[in-house]
Amino acid sequence: MNLAFDLLLILALSWSAWRSLATPDLTRAVVMFIVFGLLMALAWARLGAPDIALAEAAIGAGLTGALLLDALGALQARRGEKKEDA
């Protein structure tokens, strides 16, 4: 039972990591990354590391997620104004 959960969690981790790097839409990529962070927190709990789980949820998913979303807004805001976007 536990092994099945672990395998499922690892599958979900790998999938969300892959999607956050490969999905063409940047907003969706950031959302996938936040999901990845929350899944990481679960993984830490499974490894008997509640301290890391707490920190991962608050910092890894929460704060990093907020930073990423905010940066996303800033990077996409100028799309219309400047044409030379790569």
């Binding site: 707490l54 608050a58 907020a66």
Partner: protein, 218 residues
């Protein structure tokens, strides 16, 4: 050229992954067993929770330098400032604002609890600081806290206070013989002092990483 790089990276990556998987599967038991050493010395560390003992006592030196890393990241963000005033917060749903106002005491209380709990169970300055920072970010998103520009003196003091306390304790103990060697009787108190300072400063720094950036060049 680009295609070449891509295939090279993929090949190197796959072989590295394969080699590491093989390496991990054939690993013998480790020669050194630190969990036993930690348990043995936990009584002298001044706290009961092993992770906090490692973080603030056995490997407190890592933690001191790590706070410096955070300060440094913030400092570099400030050099990028250019002193532009951030955009005023957009109009926000009053319902969200009301919620944020009511959440604020709860957030501070949670941070305080985590700080206190760190001595005995999971928690501590980093988690408490992260909760404070999350609260500040939330307030900003609710339009109740403006984004920060160049920090004034009182804010700079808050940002560095935890680090200065940590540094002062390290220096005082160095005068007694070794860096960060807490006398066992004082260890608990000194660690709590450091953690209290760090909670405030880490909260401000982590919040600052967001608040100095947001709205700056949007």
């Amino acid at each position: 050229m680009n295609g070449l790089l891509r295939s090279a990276v993929v090949i190197v990556g796959l072989s590295l992954a394969a080699a590491m998987v093989i390496a991990l599967l054939q690993l013998p038991s480790a020669a050194v067993h630190l969990p036993a050493l930690v348990a043995e010395n936990l009584a002298q560390s001044g706290v009961e929770h092993p992770v906090t003992a490692v973080l603030l006592n056995f490997r407190g030196w890592d933690t001191l330098l790590e706070v410096a890393v955070l300060l440094l990241a913030l400092l570099t963000l400030l050099t990028l400032g250019g002193g532009k005033a951030p955009a005023p917060a957009a109009a926000v749903d009053p319902l969200l604002q009301g919620l944020a106002r009511r959440m604020l005491p709860l957030i501070v209380l949670t941070a305080g609890y985590l700080l206190w709990a760190g001595a005995h169970r999971p928690g501590g300055a980093f988690q408490a600081g992260a909760v404070l920072a999350a609260g500040a970010v939330f307030l900003q998103l609710a339009g109740l806290l403006p984004a920060w520009t160049a920090p004034r003196r009182w804010l700079r003091l808050g940002l560095v206070l935890g680090f200065l306390v940590f540094l002062a304790v390290a220096a005082a103990l160095l005068g007694q013989g070794a860096l960060l060697r807490y006398p066992p009787a004082l260890a608990g108190g000194l660690i709590l002092l450091i953690e209290a300072g760090l909670t405030l400063s880490l909260g401000l720094i982590l919040a600052g990483l967001f608040l100095f950036l947001t709205g700056r060049d949007a």
